[in-house]
Structure formats: C-alpha cells, structure tokens
Amino acid sequence: MHHLWLIPFLPLAGFLVNGLFGKRFSKGIVSVVAIGSVALSFLWVLKCLMAVAPLETPHVERYFMWIQSGSLAIPFELAVDRLSAIMLMVVTGVGLLIHIYASGYMHDEDGYYRFYAFFNLFMFFMLTLVLANNFLLLFVGWEGVGLCSYLLIGYYFVKHSASTAGNKAFIVNRIGDFGFSLAMFLIFIAFGTLDFPKVFEAAKALPVETAAGMTTAICLLLLLGAAGKSAQIPLYVWLPDAMEGPTPVSALIHAATMVTAGVYMVARSSALFLKAPVAMETVAWVGLATAVMAATIGITQFDIKKVYAYSTVSQLGYMFLALGVGAFSAGIWHVVTHAFFKALLFLGAGSVIHALHHEQDMRHMGGLRQKIPITFAVLTCAWLAISGVPFTSGWYSKEAILGAVHHHSPLMYWIGVGTAAVTAFYVSRSMFMTFFGEYRGHAHPHESPPVMWAPLAVLAVLSLAGGALFNVPHILEPIFPAAHGEHDIMLEIIGSAAGLLGIGIAYVMYIASPGMPASIAASLGGVYRLVYNKYYVDEAYDATIVRPLVNSSRGALWQFGDVWLIDGVVNGIGGFSRWIGGGLRLLQSGSIRSYAAWVVAGAVIFIIAAGVIGGAQGGLR
C-alpha cells in the first residue's frame, strides 16, 4: 500500500478548496493552493514510483468494492505499471510547469480562482484516467477530462465563439464516448469483466481473428472513442476551435495530456488490438490520414494558435500511426516528447500573445526576435524538436515511429516522411512570420515575467534533451515487445533530411523572398482555398449531419412527438381527471371534520374486513 489515491486526490482537494472558497481568497492564496496541490501530487508520484520501482509487474491497490451488481463487480482499484508511470510523470510534471506558467499568464483575468479550480479538477480526472485499473474507472476520468475541457474552452463564456466552441468539443466528444461505452458493453459481454488484467489475460488467450469479429468490433469502437478524445478523423474538428480557451488550457489539455488519452487508452488495450489486425490497419490509416490532412491545413493558417492546434492534430495522427503499425512504445515515446515540445510551443505562443496584448494573427507579428528574446530562444528549441532536427527529443520519437512504419509498409513510410517535411515547414513558417522580418503590428511588445518563462526554460531543456533522457521503448520493454525494425541509419538520415528540407523551404519562402507565398497561393487558387478553408469539413458536417438532425428532430420529435403525441395524451388525461373531479368536487366541502369523519368510516370498514378475515383465519398471531 503506497497510497496511490493521494496522487489524484491532492488536486481534487485543491479544486475543492479553490472552488468553494476561492472567491474570497486573494490570487496569491489561490495560486499557492492550486500549484501546491499539483506540486505535492508530483512529489507523491516520484515517491510512489521510487517505492514501487523497478515495477516489473503492475502494482495494484484496491480500496473498496465500487459497484456490485449481479455478475458485474467493479472494485475501486488504482494500478501503476511502467506505462502509467510514464504518463503520470508527464501529466504531473508538465501539468505542474503549466500551472506555474498560468499564474503569470492568467494573472489579470477575472475568475482566476475558477480557472485554477477547473485546472485542478482536470488534473484529478486525468490522473484517475491514468491510474484506473478497469475500463469503467478509466471512463470516469475520460468523461471528467472531457467536462473540464468543456468548462475551460468556454472559460471566456461571455464570448459567444468560446461557448459554442465548448459545446462543439463536448458534443463531438459525446460521439466518441458513445463508441467507448459501446465498446465497454461488448467487453463485458465478451469477457464478463472490465478489469484490465483479467480482460487482457483473456485477450492474450484468444486467437488472432483475421476477419471481422467481436474483438475487431470492440477495437473499432475503442478507436472511435479514442478518435473523439484525441481529435482524429473524423472527429478532429473540435480541437482547432478549442483554441478559444486560454492558452495554458490549450497547452495542458489540448496539447500535452488530455488529447493523448486516446493514445494511452489504445496502447493500454494493446492486447486487444494485437488480436484484431483489421482494427490495427484502420488505426494506422486513420492516423496517417489525420496527420497529412491536419499538416496541410496547418500550412495555410494565420492564427498562431490554430497553426499549433492543427500541428497537434497531425502529431496525434503520428502517434496513432505508430500504434497502428504495432509500435506502441514508439507512440508513447512520441506522446512524451510531444508533451514537451507542443506544450512549449503553446506556452511560447501564449507568451507571444501575452506580449502583444492578445494579438494572435501572425500577419500582425514579426521581428519579435529582439523584442522578446527569451521567448524566442525557448520557442526555437521547440521548433527544432518538432521539426525533427537530429538529436532533439522529437527526432528520436519520430525516427522510432518512421522506422516501425517502414517495417510495416513503405508506402505509409513515404507519406509519413512527407508529412514530417510539411510539419517542419509550417512550424518554421510560423516561427519566421512571428520572429523574423520586421514588426508588422502596433502593440508594444514586452517580455513575459520570470514566472512565465522559467517553466518555458525547463520545457525547452526537456524538448531538446527529453528524447535522449527518457528512452521510452527501453522502459516499456516488459510491457510491449521491442519495436521491431532495427535502427536503419538510412531511414534516420531520410527522416532528418525531410525535417531540414521543410525548414529550408520555409526559409526560402518567408525570409529569402517574402513575396513568394502569396504568388504560390494565387497560382493554385482553388486548392489553396480548399485547404485554407480546412477542406470545408465543418461545412460538410453541418450540411450532412447537423442540419438534417436539427430539422428532423424539430419536425418529428417536437412537432409530432412532443406537441401532438405527449401533450395530447397529457392534456387528455388532464381533461378526463377534471371531468371526474367535477363529480367528486361535491365531496370536498372544505370542512376538515367531515373529511375526518370519512376517514373514520373508512377505518371502521377496514377493521370490519380485517376482523372478518382474521375470524376466517382464527385470530391473529
């Protein structure tokens, strides 16, 4: 017993304190409570991991029987194995940094305590999700993070766009969660339990089913859930809009932790997926498609946060690609490194936005290199990392993925490489547009306070050295068989080259000859407009799904079902009872005594009846 429950419950305590009394606290106390709780849980994570190391086998702690109904028995169990250990480290560590950063970024916002309360609540649910030892508890965390994401996207709820974005995220996630819950039902039908160990033991025993079958169905439904949470095709549309939330939220929830929950979940249930090659293939292609699509969209965006949002989507695509080709550990590795550099990118962007007084359009930036040097420096690290410049963290994980992909199918590999180049291109583009050239805005940029750039510095170091520091595949050796595909130096060179190529093109287009992008955009106008408008996916969804749904429900459910059917019945009953009541009303003289007399009469009759029956049965016993 190492009291794992403290890990999630410390942030919960923070949430309760801030949520209940935060209004009365000063901002100092609020941030101390929030950051302190997360810091404590980070330390507690370290302590627990020290205690349970080396963790060859999972360490499970059962607290009480949570749900006990028929054959369904769900204990409240927390477990930590190497996989969840890594996730714990990332969530609490990065989470802590972002909490600290937020105390600077959010300082002038009102509802400061509300922000931190939700932030802590998110940490609680995320840690529950990671520590859960059965699907249901994981689902609780899953829903909880969704809720917090909704609350925080809509943090500026006075802004209509923000609240609608929140709703969109919530609804789209519902679709995914629907899939997830169906998957859980199927799992219970197939295995009779929801506990990870039992399910996966049973799954290991199953034969590999080549055709579609139960396992495949389960896996595809799980994939649907994961796609919802991790913004994969077709459910990625919510993530770009989610950027309406404050930047720390985008960094923590929509880049570093929550969106990787899907990856974690799929990796967690790898035992199932390995038995369903069809599902695996689907995962891989979904990931790849998402990666390409999002990357291309990323090229054309001008809102700096939108660019990073699409880059997040495409990086998640990478992770799914890795999972799909069976390189789970590579995927998780990318989760970790991505958490570092993407959080850094967002926080850096936040720092830029903060510097420019909430200017997000890159066309009004530029030349900030001298004005906010520290931000520039840290962002450069992130830029190198995500572009896969050799020996940065991003490079390691990306190479691992690409290696595995190549082993799986060369076609996918080449697409992946291309995407890598594109990725490098648009990130560089954003960097050049932001920091190089001359300043095109009219705000007066100012460097952010230390409380903001200190975490950035830490993250910068991590995103440079993180890959080398945490050799995830090695750590995950006991859980996932070593990623096949021995290190092929050729592949690595190609991958790195792709990244550098992307940077180079960006340099040519945005530094060397600044006129070029416009002309290119003009030359391929149709394609450009298509991409610029995000392939009209939102519009398509709106036309094909949303509007028909609204119309049909208005017509069928409201007009017919509610107004005609239900109201009709209810009113009918009402009229009928009024008719009856008209008759009975005469009894109701309003004098209590007469009522009492009636009651007594009833009692007497009842007693006579009882006496008769009692007599028939010969006295009461």
Partner: protein, 108 residues
C-alpha cells in the same frame, strides 16, 4: 412486619385496549373540537396511543424495535408540531380565527 402480598400483574391486552381508548378519544377530539390547536393536540393524542401499542408489542416480543418506532414517531411528531404550529400562527395572522369550520375555503 408482615410480608406484602405478591404483586398481581395485568395482561398485555389491557395496555392495547387502553391505547385503543386513547386513540378513540383522540379521534373524538379531532371530530368534535373546533379550535385548530385542539385538533392538532388530538392528533398528538392519537400518536401517543399508537406509541403505547408499539411499546406494548415490543414488550410482548421482548425486542427493542418497538421502542425505536416510538422514537421515530416522536421525532416526526416534533417536526410536525414545529411546522404545524407555524402554519397555525400564519393562519391566525391571515384569518384572525382558529375555528376550522370558518377556515373552509382556500382563498380569502
């Protein structure tokens, strides 16, 4: 001094019948009194009668449960008295009377 006579006891039924009598008297009070307060007191009387049966049966079965029911009845009676008397106060404030047969319409 001489030994006292051995005390003679009464059967349980006496208690039950006593409670029946009290209950009937409570009903009578409810029926024949006009003052809202007195009617309310008659209700309390009935509750007491019922409590007596509870305790008597609890003795009969040599189990404590009956006492607990009595206890709960008391709690309910207390709550009822609190709310009921508050209602009576309000009624008196609005109607200026406590006679039930003058308070027979919902709106003034």
């Amino acid at each position: 001094m001489p030994p006292l006579p051995i005390p003679t006891a009464v059967p349980l039924t006496y208690y039950l019948i006593l409670s029946a009598i009290l209950f009937a008297l409570g009903v009578a009070g409810f029926l024949f009194r006009r003052s809202l307060i007195t009617i309310f007191m008659s209700i309390e009387l009935m509750l007491n009668a019922v409590n007596l049966t509870f305790v008597a049966f609890s003795y009969h079965h040599k189990q404590v449960d009956g006492h607990l029911f009595t206890f709960f009845v008391m709690v309910v009676a207390a709550a009822e008295a609190a709310v009921g008397l508050a209602i009576i106060l309000t009624v008196f404030k609005n109607r200026g009377t406590l006679a039930v047969d003058e308070i027979d319409s919902l709106k003034l």
